[in-house]
Amino acid sequence: MTDWPAKLRRIRALTLKETRQVMRDPSSIAIGIAFPLMMILLFGYGLSLDISRVSVAVVDEDASSDSAALIGAFRLSPYFGVTVVHSMAEAKTMVLDRKVDGVLRIPSDFTRRWHLGEAEVQILVNGTDANQARIMQAYAQGPVALWSAARAGSVSAVSVGPVIVVDRMWFNENNDSHYFLVPGLIVLVMTIIGAFLTAMVVAREWERGTLEALFVTPMRAGEFLVSKFLPYFGLGMIGFVLCFLAGQFLFHVPLRGSLCLLCLASMIYLLVALGLGLLISTLVKSQFLASQLAMLLTFLPAMMLSGFLYDLRSMPVFIQGITYALPARYAVTLMQTLYLAGDVGSVVWLNLGVLAAMASALIVLARLATRKQLS
């Protein structure tokens, strides 16, 4: 027979104790409030995937009016900073010393071969930063096409087309990267508060032996778990609200789905993260191990294997297989869809269902693991 008033009283007392502990420890507040703010600022203003300007050393071996015009086209391009040098050796030294990102080489037979219709220019990039090198390669098409269009104007007619691409990016017409950063950020923040912080807190009780002291009281394992859940659930929701407000008022990310579903989705994912945190800490009972495992199993997947930054479809098949076991994948899909595409039934209910199943399974497991210790 359960004595409900006593049960509630015990939960209330423990929750109060836990809440006070959170409020008093500057590091909990730092993770609950300062971490979301820091991430918002970093992702919002610090990180940019665009390459603003590529500096290029130009070696003009042709030294003709045509090659000068081509260099002029590169100078006009907003993407290139041009430095003219006299030899390839000099250019290569500049690349090695990081004074320029790449080299444009106009061979000495450029004009002669252009009249034969087979001219070429060389772009030499520093492959140490492969991504930047590839972008530079793509940027170079612009000035070259501009020059040949201008030059061809006097010789032959067609230089662009005939097929023209008209592209439209749905859900994010202006290609604003905040649109996908904000939904991903919510997932990251919840993961850190739910799993990382909670794992440490519960492991500390095991390590210090205060949990065993609790076991001699009338408190039940379930009550203990509830009292641990509530304060960190609250802290996680504060993190969510901060990210949500930043999305609305700082970055103006549209919320096309319903706010109710967004809140529901975040709560369910927060339960998953809390369940993981509690389970890890109950299993390893050491703060150091718990923190490292929480990092490896929750935060890094949320960052790398969730589709937040890197496209899942391009990963090797066995990595894709792993991502299906990780809650972050479903959470990121869900958040991005709710924010940008709206309430798309097939996506929302499927991912929400998986997350809810994971949450219940993890909570049951955490409960079982805790009970085992009581006996």
């Binding site: 590091s27 730092a30 971490f35 203003y45 610090g46 990180l47 940019s48 995937l49 390459i51 090695l96 010393d97 087979e118 070429e120 220019v121 060389q122 772009i123 030499l124 990039v125 492959g127 140490t128 930063d129 492969a130 090198a133 390669q137 793509a138 170079a140 040949s148 030059r151 007619a157 087309g161 005939p162 097929v163 691409v165 008209v166 592209d167 439209r168 990016m169 290609n175 604003d176 990267s177 649109y179 996908f180 850190i192 440490m200 500390r204 703060q287 150091f288 191990l289 495992l293 990092m295 890094l300 790398m304 294997l305 930054l309 890197y310 496209d311 479809r313 990963m315 990595i319 869809t337």
Partner: protein, 372 residues
């Protein structure tokens, strides 16, 4: 002097025992960097090798199918469906089954043959606008290739200038080649900084730090005893990643090991110094861990690992002069791929030395202040 050295050695031995005798903590020190290296190596790439798309071909002409077969021949674009109704476009995009929907109007071939510009409309799922932008870029290069061959077949002359790209140090422009050498620094810093921060905090929390204080150890000796084992563990971690890079991912090592390890030694000094600094501020393990995390996160994100360093706002770039990882990434990548020498890396070695000396002496000062 000799007794001081003996005391430090004893402390180093004790520190190694404390970390390595527990099989679970051995596991946590050496397995995560290996797993992370493999996962990051395979996952962390903005290149796309599989773009699912659906096509809405209203023209059904020889030209439109010639274009589509060129697209399918690229091996990157994977056709998921042939759509017949306009409203199916949103079905395929919304449900995320297609990243792109390609729409070819019914006058596509007629306009091509008439010498008028023919349009192809592409709709991309912009939920991750970065991925969508990359996919659109790939699509345009297929169109460009189609145009070039169409022009030469229909006597409009080839594209007058060919751009020949050659890439130094990474012939196939494989992003894994830039990513994995960067991980040598990144993963080692995450491991070492947190381990160091925790090791002092654990002693403090368990009360053994007070026991250390009543021994004849001087603060400087305690600090050295804490710093050296963690630096050694860091070196083992980075060597592991170096071996994975060479023997698992087969990325050829171009540089000199002396330069690389000189750089790593300085970097680890800075990382351990930061860890000790954090641990002398933190009162508990939880604080040490969370503060260390709050420090590592921005350092890792703003080091140039994931996004180009030069496109960050100027003021962040100038704050990041204190970020040891930024210099370490430069050293590992350039030594690994470019065979850069000491003189080229002076701009990295000097700041790392300064950061290391400042944090270590700062930590020693804080240690002393907390001791007496």
């Amino acid at each position: 002097m000799r007794s001081s050295l003996l005391r430090i050695l004893a402390l180093i031995r004790k520190e190694f025992l404390a970390v390595l005798k527990d099989p679970r903590s051995r596991f946590v020190i050496f397995v995560p960097p290996i797993l992370q290296c493999l996962i990051f190596g395979y996952a962390a790439s903005f290149d796309l090798n599989s773009i699912p798309y659906a096509v809405f071909d209203q023209d059904h002409s020889a030209s439109s199918s010639a274009f589509l077969s060129r697209l399918d021949g690229s091996k990157i674009f994977r056709r998921q469906a042939d759509i017949v109704r306009v409203k199916d476009i949103s079905t395929w995009i919304d449900s995320r089954r297609a990243l792109l929907v390609i729409r070819i109007d019914q006058d596509f071939e007629r306009r091509l043959l008439a010498g008028e510009p023919a349009q192809i409309q592409v709709i991309a799922d912009g939920r991750n606008s970065n991925t969508a932008g990359t996919a659109l870029g790939y699509f345009e290069s297929v169109v460009e290739a189609f145009n070039a061959s169409w022009r030469s077949r229909h006597g409009h002359g080839g594209s007058p200038i060919r751009i020949v790209t050659r890439s130094w140090f990474n012939p196939n422009l494989d992003s894994r080649w830039s990513m994995i050498p960067s991980l040598i620094g990144t993963l080692t810093m995450m491991g070492t900084l947190m381990l160091t921060a925790m090791s002092v905090a654990r002693e403090r929390e368990q009360g053994t730090f007070d026991q250390l204080l009543v021994t004849p150890f001087r603060p400087f000796e305690i600090m050295t005893g804490k710093a050296v084992p963690n630096m050694v563990i860091g070196l083992v971690q980075s060597t592991t990643i170096l071996l994975i890079a060479q023997f698992w991912f087969h990325i050829p090592f171009a540089g000199s090991f002396i330069t690389l390890y000189a750089g790593l030694g300085l970097f680890l000094m800075a990382a351990v110094g930061l860890g000790l600094f954090v641990s002398s501020i933190a009162a508990t393990m939880q604080q040490a861990m969370l503060y260390a995390f709050l420090l590592v996160m921005p350092f890792a994100l703003l080091s140039g690992l994931a996004t180009p360093f030069n496109s960050m706002p100027e003021f962040l770039q100038s704050i990041m002069v204190i970020n040891p990882l930024r210099y370490a990434l430069d050293i590992t990548k350039r030594v690994y791929l470019e065979d850069a020498g000491f003189t080229q890396l002076l701009a990295d070695f000097v700041p790392l030395t300064v950061i290391g000396l400042l944090t270590l002496s700062g930590a020693a000062w804080l240690f002393r202040r907390r001791l007496f």
